[in-house]
């Protein structure tokens, strides 16, 4: 048992000296680690989740080396613990914390860091002698797999830890982790399996697709030592001069037949709470084909949520101006807390907020900073360091500070605008009050009054523990192509072996034999070709082994690994020299020379684009365009949408017909009848009463089993507003589908607008929607074909194709010292998309782009769920005489596109006055 082991004694004594006592979940994890089990640790930040796995590895090491664990300069244990983290910035801090433990315990370990910032000299040193702990990003791990002889690096390894797995799981970087784990696990057996694969190749035995048999066979009847010696001479890929001692050490033999073959390798994920924790565990364990355990830290972090209320509730809310008006209310919060983080949803708005806070409270100058993904790395590091030391009073930030190590001085967190999801809100709340028993305090500042209902929904979701899932990505052909080429530049790969390995991963478990053949064909023959007139060269086959032999191609590929990009970013530099940050290509491409925009808190005048860099000069102009970034387009989560509908349900229940009639006779804001103490509604909803009462009077507040549709005629035309509360992406797709379906009843054209709560169709003629056809219009039947006919999925896929083509290696981004020649290799993603669409429509990367559009852009599953839900619910059609509080923000958003912001403000004010 754990407590009797030497390792435990050493570690717990050390902890006791420091006055610490291990948490239950930590001890549980340690026990599982000693049992060579794998699993997922679920713990909030600030609860010692790092130590649950790290100290487990230390204890195990001490137990395995009771005599020789203490520091010896010459000790070479080989890599013991691989620590995968999504963020470069995290590596340094985690490494520091680990080193402290190692030094104080005096064990003979070194901690190494490997990521894009690691110097070549350091890499060389690591190649000669691997540190016992290596902290690495998914990309750098793949770069390690691109090194000749990489298998030996992992031969002594005991544990793979994947930190912040909840962040990785929904992304292609998560897929990179899955692939790397599958290879590492496979490599532990590869000496045997490679040989048998070679043998089976020679005797044309097809072992395709039955990996378990292969490994079972290996594990049970092969005396590995003899294999070893044979391989040293036989294998074309001899990289192993040392026998894999730990692998078949008698200590690790297990009773379970299934786990025997890789029992000494365990994998531990560390994850915050997400809705699909079991699935998250399954994805991570999948390459090892083991069930794994979940260890939960049952430490309910107390979270206190406080909404910041406007002095007066606007009954006609609109997004985008209220927040800033409330900025002065943040000053006392900032002053009272040691350090405050202010989370803003978009980088653009964070720039505005930073300026606004400085204008309101000039005293903050020097103690307030701005942190977002486009701010120069050096500046961001500076901000992070000063957060640690508590020198900053406040930091205005975006999702860029969602992750990462704890900043202990942070006492308060402010969320401005909808956090769009419960998980994100919790994560941000958790950035304050770090010690395990402290309360996390988060303030919610609405950017329009209806968002207060979201605050109520968030409170409800948190008390009911309803948290979003992160869906793992499936069948990413682009990442797989990149991975195969990666293996091809190091030691080469045997297709049967790698196919067996990747089929164990969650991402590729349904990869068909045909698709696999297509992928191999793509990397070896480049798809369709004109046989004798073709020069295609990439992966070659030699003795059954797939390799890239050209050094130039290998070098290019190495530079390519890690380009898992989210958006095409462009560097921004001063024309006089000096780097400002990065910005989306999409934004820059719309600017004209002379336009002024804001980045990193500075006003910049755009001059020109040259070689993927935007050149700017400083500007004193008062007016500037604030860039729009990806973050702003994040939709409301399905989860939060559902809770929001339930929240409105409670409002609707309170608004019995009698009560609102009473109120409507009086002047509305003064005598709201529901602000009594025995109201079951939260503070936020009580404050919103006047708005809800107006909504109910003009139209209706939908219950949770209702879908509200409003038809309103104004001088602009005939409006149809629908409120599914499903987030803007689903609304965008639904608007197009609905417009298409209505136009089949009668030819009619529409313009669309949408927000997270609902969408609008606007036409110059009456919209033929009534209770006879409305259920049919929202039918899930023929959804796919209607999507194809109505939504311009080709254009959406074209945009997705850019990323897919970059990862899949179709877009060559050039490399240093090769500029001129590389110019002949430039082709835009759009051009490639056209060429493939026309000449090779079955191409897997093209198919993937369309799939990504359906899954991510349109959230097809969610769209279908919504339609099925609507079929079960009651559709309420109302015909309000004028705009309602619910439709107003949608309407304003639709005006935003063609009006400058000041004129918009004027126009909205006029509209509000006319309506109220």
């Amino acid at each position: 048992m754990l407590r009797e082991t030497k390792g435990y004694k050493v570690v717990s004594e050390w902890l006791a000296q420091k006055g610490f006592h291990p948490f239950l979940f930590q001890e549980q994890t340690w026990q599982h680690i000693l049992n060579n089990e794998s699993g997922l640790v679920n713990a909030p930040t600030g609860c010692g989740k790092t130590f649950s796995v790290f100290l487990g590895a230390v204890i195990k090491f001490i137990n395995d080396n009771p005599g020789g664990y203490l520091n010896k300069k010459t000790a070479r244990h080989g890599l013991q613990l691989l620590w995968i983290t999504p963020l470069r910035a995290l590596a340094k801090d985690i490494g520091r914390a680990m080193e402290e433990v190692i030094d104080e315990l005096g064990i003979g370990w070194k901690v190494g860091i490997r990521n894009g910032d690691t110097s070549i000299a350091e890499r060389q040193k690591q190649k000669l002698q691997m540190p016992e702990v290596l902290i690495i990003t998914p990309e750098s791990l793949h770069l390690l797999l691109a090194q000749k002889g990489y298998e030996t690096v992992f031969s002594s390894m005991q544990i793979i830890a994947v930190d912040e797995w909840h962040e990785l799981i929904g992304s292609k970087r998560g897929v990179q982790v899955e692939l790397a784990v599958s290879r590492i696990a496979g490599s532990r057996l590869s000496i045997g399996s490679r040989q048998s694969a070679v043998l089976s190749q020679q005797s044309s035995v097809n072992i395709n697709g039955r990996p378990e048999e292969l490994f079972q066979h290996q594990a049970t009847d092969s005396p590995l030592t003899t294999h070893d010696s044979r391989l040293a001479t036989d294998s074309p890929l001899t990289t192993h001069d040392s026998p894999l001692t730990t692998h078949h050490s008698p200590l690790t033999i297990h009773d379970s037949r299934l786990t025997t073959h890789q029992s000494s390798l365990s994998i531990w994920g560390i994850s915050a709470t997400i809705g699909n924790l079991d699935e998250a565990k399954e994805v991570l364990m999948s390459p090892l084909q083991i069930p794994g355990v979940i260890v939960k830290a049952n430490m309910d972090k107390r979270i206190e949520i406080e909404s910041i209320f406007p002095d007066e509730i606007e009954k006609y809310p609109w997004a985008g101006h209220l927040g800033i008006k409330l900025a002065h209310k943040l000053i006392p919060i900032i002053e009272q807390s040691r350090t405050t983080l202010i989370f803003i949803n978009t980088r653009g708005m964070s720039e505005t907020w930073y300026q606004t806070l400085l204008n309101i409270c000039p005293d903050l100058a020097g103690s307030i900073a701005l942190h977002h993904g486009s701010v120069d790395m050096e500046l961001r590091t500076w901000v992070e360091e000063n957060l640690h030391t508590g020198k900053l009073k406040a930091v205005v930030c975006t999702a860029s500070l969602d992750l990462g190590v704890d900043f202990r001085p942070v006492e308060s967190v402010i969320q401005v605008g909808s956090p769009k999801g419960v998980a994100r809100f919790l994560q941000r709340a958790g950035r304050s009050g770090h010690s395990p028993d402290a309360v996390s305090k988060i303030y919610f500042l609405p950017t329009h009054s209806l968002e207060l209902a979201e605050a109520a929904a968030l409170k409800k979701a948190i008390s009911e523990k309803v948290i979003e899932s992160r869906q793992p990505m499936l069948l990413c052909y682009d990442v797989l192509i990149q991975y195969l080429n990666t293996l091809a530049i190091s030691d080469g790969f045997l297709p049967e072996q790698v196919f067996a390995e990747i089929r164990k991963t969650y991402c590729y478990k349904h990869l068909s034999g045909d698709e696999w053949e297509q992928l191999l064909h793509f990397i070896t023959a480049g798809g369709k070709a004109l046989q004798q007139y073709d020069d295609y060269k990439k992966t070659e086959i030699e003795d059954g082994i797939y390799k890239i032999k050209s050094r130039r191609l290998a070098l290019r590929h190495r530079l390519h690994i890690g380009t898992i990009v989210s958006e095409a970013m462009m560097k921004v530099r001063f024309i006089s020299g000096g780097y400002v940050g990065v910005i989306e290509e999409y934004f820059i491409s719309r600017l004209q020379s002379g336009d002024v925009f804001t980045l990193a808190g500075r006003n910049l005048e755009f001059v020109m684009i040259k070689e993927m860099t935007a050149y700017v000069r400083k500007s004193n102009s008062k007016k500037s365009i604030v860039p729009s970034w990806q973050g702003g387009r994040m939709p409301l989560s399905a989860n939060l949408g559902k809770i929001l509908r339930e929240t409105l349900n409670s409002v609707s229940a309170e608004l019995s017909p009698d009560s609102y009639r009473d109120v409507s006779k009086n002047s509305i804001p003064s005598g709201s009848i529901l602000t009594t103490h025995n109201s079951p509604l939260t503070e936020e909803l009580q404050v919103l009463q006047p708005l809800f009462e107006l909504q109910e009077r003009l139209s209706h507040v939908p219950k949770k089993n209702e879908l509200l549709i409003e038809q309103i005629e104004t001088k602009d035309g005939f409006h149809l507003f629908v409120y599914p509360f499903e987030g803007r992406l689903v609304h965008e797709a639904m608007a197009a589908i609905l417009a298409y379906r209505i136009s089949r009843i009668r030819p009619i054209t529409f313009s669309f607008a949408m927000n997270d709560y609902g969408f609008e169709l606007l036409s110059d003629q009456p919209v033929p929607v009534d209770d006879t056809n409305v259920y049919e219009l929202f039918s899930p039947e023929n959804l796919l074909s209607d999507i194809q006919r109505s939504v311009n999925s080709t254009e959406m896929a074209r945009r997705k194709f850019r990323d897919v083509a970059v990862i899949g290696g179709l877009i060559f981004q050039g490399m240093p010292g090769e500029k001129k020649k590389a110019r002949h290799l430039q082709a835009s993603a759009s051009l490639l998309f056209n060429v493939f669409s026309e000449y090779e429509p079955g191409n897997l990367l093209l198919r993937q782009s369309y799939q990504e559009v359906f899954d991510q852009q349109m959230e097809e599953v969610r769209l279908r769920d919504m339609l099925e839900r609507i079929q079960q619910s009651k559709i309420i059609l109302t015909f309000p005489e004028r705009l309602t509080p619910f439709c107003f923000p949608v309407k304003v958003d639709s005006m935003r596109e063609d009006i400058s912001s000041e004129r918009l403000e004027d126009r909205v004010k006029r509209m509000q006055m006319e309506l109220e």
Binding site: G527, L530, Y533, Y536, K537, K538, E795, H824
Partner: protein, 219 residues
């Protein structure tokens, strides 16, 4: 709207084709720009698996156009080939042999970097910068320094791969290759379908003809 559309300059009669060629009736000459022969091959040699079919299709389209117009002469205003020699260029030479009586004239473009010998063997007349026939002057890049049309001379060029954007509903816009005629010169669309476009905007007194699917559309 049709696949072919004529444009008259003085006494000279020109026919634009949606296959991105321009036929000069008076001289029975087919004028094309930016063929970029070997471009797919160049990509493929670098391990980028672009479908070669696009190149095969380019050659086939060129063949059809020559036969359709019964052209005696082929004038290429630069960028016949894309980069250094590769096997795809051998296919072009084989293709060339099927038209022994066709007079092929190339005004060199920035991409035409093959050795002189290659052009000789392919039976292609090469002009380094410009080539004159009657009232027409052929160059690759209209912006090249030192190019000056004589009196009454009209210039034909390529190089920029001109395209026009047509705005659709919402914020969508699509871009199409086009013929771009100014008072003094004409810029031809790139012939190869494995080329992008550079947006041009017509000014007063200029004509732009977009190639949309199989039609030449005056804008």
């Amino acid at each position: 709207m049709s696949t072919y559309l004529s444009h008259i300059i003085g006494k000279d009669h020109l026919i634009m084709s949606a296959e991105r060629t321009l036929f000069w009736e008076n001289e029975s000459a087919l004028i094309v720009a930016d063929l970029h022969v070997g471009k797919t091959g160049h990509f493929r040699k670098a391990g980028i698996g672009v479908p070669q079919q696009v190149y095969k299709d380019d050659l086939h389209r060129l063949l059809s156009q020559i036969l359709f117009f019964k052209a005696q002469r082929l004038i290429i205003v630069g960028d016949l080939t894309h980069s250094v020699a590769n096997k795809e260029m051998d296919l072009f030479r084989r293709w060339r042999k099927d038209f022994p009586s066709l007079d092929v004239h190339l005004v060199k473009g920035n991409h035409d970097i093959l050795a002189e010998k290659w052009y000789g063997e392919a039976d292609i007349h090469v002009s380094a910068e410009q080539f004159t026939l009657n009232n027409f002057l052929f160059v690759h890049d209209i912006m090249t320094k030192g190019i000056k049309a004589g009196k009454g001379q009209y210039i034909f060029a390529g190089h920029v791969h001109p395209g026009v954007s047509i705005r659709g509903r919402g914020r969508q816009s699509l871009s199409f290759p086009c013929f771009y005629f100014t008072k003094k010169h004409c810029v031809l669309p790139a012939f190869s379908r494995f080329t992008g476009t550079y947006r041009v905007e017509a000014k007063e007194g200029e004509n732009v003809y977009a190639i949309i699917e199989n039609e030449v559309v005056p804008l």
